[in-house]
Symmetry: C2
Subunit: 323 residues, 2 copies
């Protein structure tokens, strides 16, 4: 996933090792970074360590890394006992703590005090504004949002957005670093709640919920239209490239020709969706029936393995020739 790259920053700290943080450890260790993992809760760190061992074993078994490669990943991770130990010498910090502004502010105040002066302080937040998180910090210029898709060691996109005080150089260096560890940074122009990713997902989920709530289709049908239909295109192209591929004259012709149809459909989409307990129960039951006994853990393993397969396919057949 980062063939031929050398990380532009050699030592990295992962602070907070829940579901997102533990996956970042794989990203950095795989790319060749000296990676220090720390969590304020020692039990959480222990769970992350056990998951990391299991995940490296699964990836080895699936032929996605050699035994030798896996050993080098393990060697690069230090499970730090204190935050200071994790941060020492780190040029980049990936923070993945709870999504509460008051907690994030505390965590960032500590990071800014303890991390070396050149270190970038990146946050996995999916919702908060860095302007608020870093407000008043001496090092606010080095604070930035780097929000991944779950799980980042499998899915490359990372939303990157600074706060009002973030230096341009911080943004540039963060993007270059993310590319060098095999991720795909995506720069936002300004803050919006949910950034790009959660807004787009919320828009799709809302209509999915509406279709089920309004008895147009069941959960299985809605999911099938995505996984055996629209999602096959979206794994390759976003909505604007899809539009280009649907009209001989490209996106401009497409939106000119179908503008009226979109306007009419947009008028018809309900915006008053509400996830009532009854609806959530029904969705839960229908989804469980659809999955036919597959456990969440098996679903995750299957998802990750196949996504890595799709990414290999895209790497072997790039749209723009060899890049």
């Amino acid at each position: 996933m980062n063939e031929g790259h050398t990380p532009t920053i050699s030592t990295v700290a992962v602070v907070g090792t829940g579901v997102i943080g533990r996956s970042w450890i794989v990203v950095f260790a795989r790319a060749g970074c000296e990676t220090r993992a720390w969590d304020p809760d020692p039990a959480q760190l222990e769970r992350a360590r056990a998951w990391f061992e299991g995940e490296v074993a699964r990836l080895t078994e699936a032929g996605l890394v050699t035994a030798e490669g896996a050993a080098s990943w393990r060697d690069r991770v230090r499970w730090a006992r204190t935050q200071a130990e994790a941060l020492e010498g780190a040029g980049y910090v990936q923070e993945s703590g709870p999504e509460r502004l008051d907690i994030k502010c505390q965590v960032y105040a500590q990071l800014d005090r303890l991390a070396g002066p050149a270190a970038i302080l990146g946050s996995s937040t999916s919702a908060l504004d860095m302007t608020a998180i870093a407000a008043g910090l001496p090092g606010s210029a080095r604070c930035i949002v780097a929000h991944p898709v779950n799980p980042p060691h499998v899915i490359p996109a990372v939303e990157v957005l600074g706060g009002a005080m973030t230096a341009t150089d911080t943004t540039e260096r963060t993007c270059a670093f993310l590319v060098s560890v095999g991720q795909t940074p995506v720069r936002l122009k300004r803050f919006a709640p949910g950034f790009i990713l959660n807004r787009m997902q919320a828009a799709l989920v809302r209509e999915a919920v509406n279709l089920v709530a309004d008895q147009v289709a069941d959960v299985e049908a809605v999911d099938a239209v995505i996984r055996d239909g629209l999602g096959l295109r979206w794994a390759l192209m976003g909505p604007f490239a899809v539009a280009s591929a649907n009209a001989d004259g490209g996106a401009r012709e497409y939106f000119t020709r179908y503008g009226a149809s979109y306007n009419a459909l947009w008028q018809d989409l309900r915006a008053d969706t509400e996830l009532t307990p009854d609806l959530v129960r029904r969705i839960g039951e229908e989804t469980e029936a659809m999955l036919r006994g597959v456990s969440v853990a098996d679903l995750m393993t299957w998802r990750d393995r196949l996504i890595l397969g799709i990414r290999r396919l895209k790497t072997r057949h790039p749209l723009h020739g060899k890049e």
Copy 2:
């Protein structure tokens, strides 16, 4: 794409051979059906024939069919000179004409008069209600919507929905036939404008357009979040299975835990989107810049090849073991 199946209906007519109709010809011929193609415009039929030859050659070159297999596909297609010739002996008709109710009504009146009494009359309509199309026809019980994703010989999902007079048996036989030719029928419970597919797509496209219009992100960033992020999951799972894979307790826990976040985001999504000429021009320009000179034709060829690759990957690694 239909390994091990024998079509449940052996002779098929494709009426209307534009972009959708021509792709259906590949679906049926590939599956082993005697396939008769006809278009009221002889020049359109000639273009479809040229496209078919080119597409079969491209699929052969890409190793997706052997030269022998390709020859058998060609042998199974008859390019009919009259509608009656196309319909003679056909047990299933796939109609792919213009999306105007008055035209569809005329076309269906003809089909119902000319087709054998046992033939199912399926329509590729993406928007119209079969209750209205087949109103008053003697054979309204055999009329049904079978709306594919473009292009159906690459993407399997087909939305299936009868009108008020459609017989249950028509729906059952249509679904069984679609499965037997390698497609994935998706049954709707009732009509809604845009069915499932175009409603879900419209919801995503609206937010994509909003993000660009509101200067949160440019076209390239929005597309990247889908193709290198959310779309990688959606090629495998719809939004409800994705929710299951994002919470240890499955979809019910997910929507319980994130219900408030969704409600807040849904409140924040703009519903007054309008595709003004200025916005369409900007989207067109940014999309063209993103594609860096790749032609629409090359984009389609690349898309189709990679989607077939993703489908092979999913077939080799099914979620529910060997099916």
